[in-house]
């Protein structure tokens, strides 16, 4: 009996401790405690629960905005409203079929006016694709592969992984991610520096260093699944990679520097697409694809 009582009491205490963060929020909302008291209780609850501080979707959104704005210093947007609308229809449709169908402010796609073969997914769902890469797509299914690959990076949070581990220490020092904490000017300055460093790390990975082969293969695997889920033939990815292989020049910029060789990517996805059959470009899809891509 005594052991049973001890067990019940122990379990109850654990449940109460785990619920401390929630109690703090509820109590503060109800005006039962001061913000400081609520914050102390919350911090205690999180420590007990070993909760790991993470970026919120809103934090990711603001990082992503600055990453894209920084990239657009180097790469001009391709101001073609028909094409950008087409990319957004396809891209947002593919994102809806992914395991990350939503971001803080939704997915948004933009073509870049460069011959370089490149594409990038920034945190928050801001995705850019170069004209050079668009030219590697000979049909809509191939273009779907490009966009689904970028959504695949979003699914797996690859851009955030590109942030140097040491940055998180800097971010933690600023207290920037601590809920309920207000800042003085020096802390805001430190937080802004940490923010700029995070943005810089992602930009460097995007168009210079790359994420590494493993993460690119992971995004390809996601692309195959997303394409199949929406009704595209995943063989479109293989066709696009084969075209890219013909177009890429040794020593080139963009994917040549940041991605595995197209042939290696084809080898990796081959088992997953073997049963999908060859690409047959449907008349309806091909017509709208060619219309949207005219002049690319």
């Amino acid at each position: 009996m005594r052991r049973l009582l001890i067990a019940i009491a122990g379990t109850s205490v654990l449940v109460l401790m785990a619920g401390c963060a929630m109690i703090a929020d509820v109590a503060q909302m109800g005006g039962l405690v001061t913000p400081q008291q609520a914050q102390s209780a919350k911090v205690f609850g999180e420590k007990v629960g070993k909760a790991t501080e993470k970026l919120t979707p809103e934090n990711e959104y603001y990082i992503g905005r600055s990453v894209i704005a920084t990239l657009l210093k180097e790469y001009k947007p391709y101001d073609n409203s028909d094409l950008n609308r087409y990319l957004n229809l396809m891209g947002q449709m593919l994102a809806a079929a992914s395991t990350k169908p939503e971001t803080f402010s939704g997915y948004h796609f933009l073509a870049l006016d460069t011959d370089e073969i490149n594409a990038f997914a920034a945190p928050g769902g801001f995705i850019v694709v170069s004209r050079g890469l668009l030219r590697c797509c000979k049909n809509e299914d191939a273009l779907a592969a490009v966009l689904a690959h970028e959504v695949g990076h979003m699914e797996n949070n690859h851009a955030l992984n590109a942030i140097n581990n040491s940055r998180w220490t800097d971010v933690a020092k600023t207290g920037v991610l601590e809920a309920g904490k207000s800042f003085g000017p020096s802390q805001v300055a430190a937080a802004t520096t940490a923010f700029g460093d995070c943005v810089g790390d992602i930009v460097a990975s995007a168009f210079k260093k790359g994420y590494g082969k493993g993460l690119e293969y992971e995004a390809d695997a996601s692309a195959v699944r997303i394409m199949a889920a929406i009704g595209y033939n995943p063989t479109g990815l293989k066709d696009m990679l084969a075209e890219m292989d013909k177009t890429m020049k040794p020593g080139g910029l963009g994917f040549m520097k940041t991605h595995p060789a197209p042939k290696d990517r084809i080898t990796k996805i081959d088992p997953a697409i073997r049963g999908c059959g060859p690409m047959t470009s449907l008349k309806e899809r091909q017509a709208r694809f060619e219309k949207a891509m005219a002049g690319i």
């Binding site: 809103e58 603001y62 600055s66 933009l110 929406i230 009704g231 999908c276 059959g277 449907l282």
Partner: protein
């Protein structure tokens, strides 16, 4: 301490634990700017209701990356990643702030990487132009437009892509 008092204290402790567990398991807050409750756990499911940043929802069940919730008399599915157990403060510094904030809320809003930090970042990097980022954000398509696009392209999510 007598046996009765010990039992009484234990009952109180258990009751509090059950309350916390029940309350913690049921309510979550929306942590994206806007989301839809859908009739099925899919981004292509019909829209049942629209919810906004900070809305509190009652959790019914989870399935994969989706959570079934209710708000008022509406029941639908929402991506689990769009929900948080924590409180959500409206970023009163942002142009999209949905509520006017008291001075306390203003102080609390100054956390995380938010519009305040972005403003400072812009001040420090005057050569970075956000015009096209803002234009990108205006590229939006509706579920009806996506469905029409799928129909016209003979895309069928039910059949999948294997030919």
């Amino acid at each position: 301490m007598s046996r009765n008092r010990l039992l009484f204290a234990l009952v109180l402790l258990c009751s509090a634990a059950v309350f916390v567990w029940a309350a913690g398991a049921k309510m979550m807050n929306v942590q994206v700017k806007q989301s839809e409750l859908r009739s099925s756990p899919s981004g292509l499911g019909s829209v049942v209701a629209t919810v906004r940043l900070g809305d509190s929802l009652t959790v019914i069940e989870e399935k994969g990356v989706w959570t079934k919730v209710s708000k008022d008399d509406k029941v639908g599915w929402i991506p689990t990643a769009s929900l948080t157990k924590g409180t959500v403060k409206i970023d009163s510094g942002g142009k999209d702030a949905q509520a006017s904030a008291s001075s306390d809320e203003m102080a609390l809003a100054t956390k995380g990487f938010n519009s305040d930090i972005e403003s400072k970042f812009k001040q420090n990097n005057k050569d970075i132009d956000f015009t096209w980022v803002n234009k990108m954000e205006r590229f939006k398509v509706s579920l009806d437009e996506i469905r029409t696009f799928m129909k016209q392209g003979r895309l069928d999510a039910e059949k999948g892509g294997a030919k």
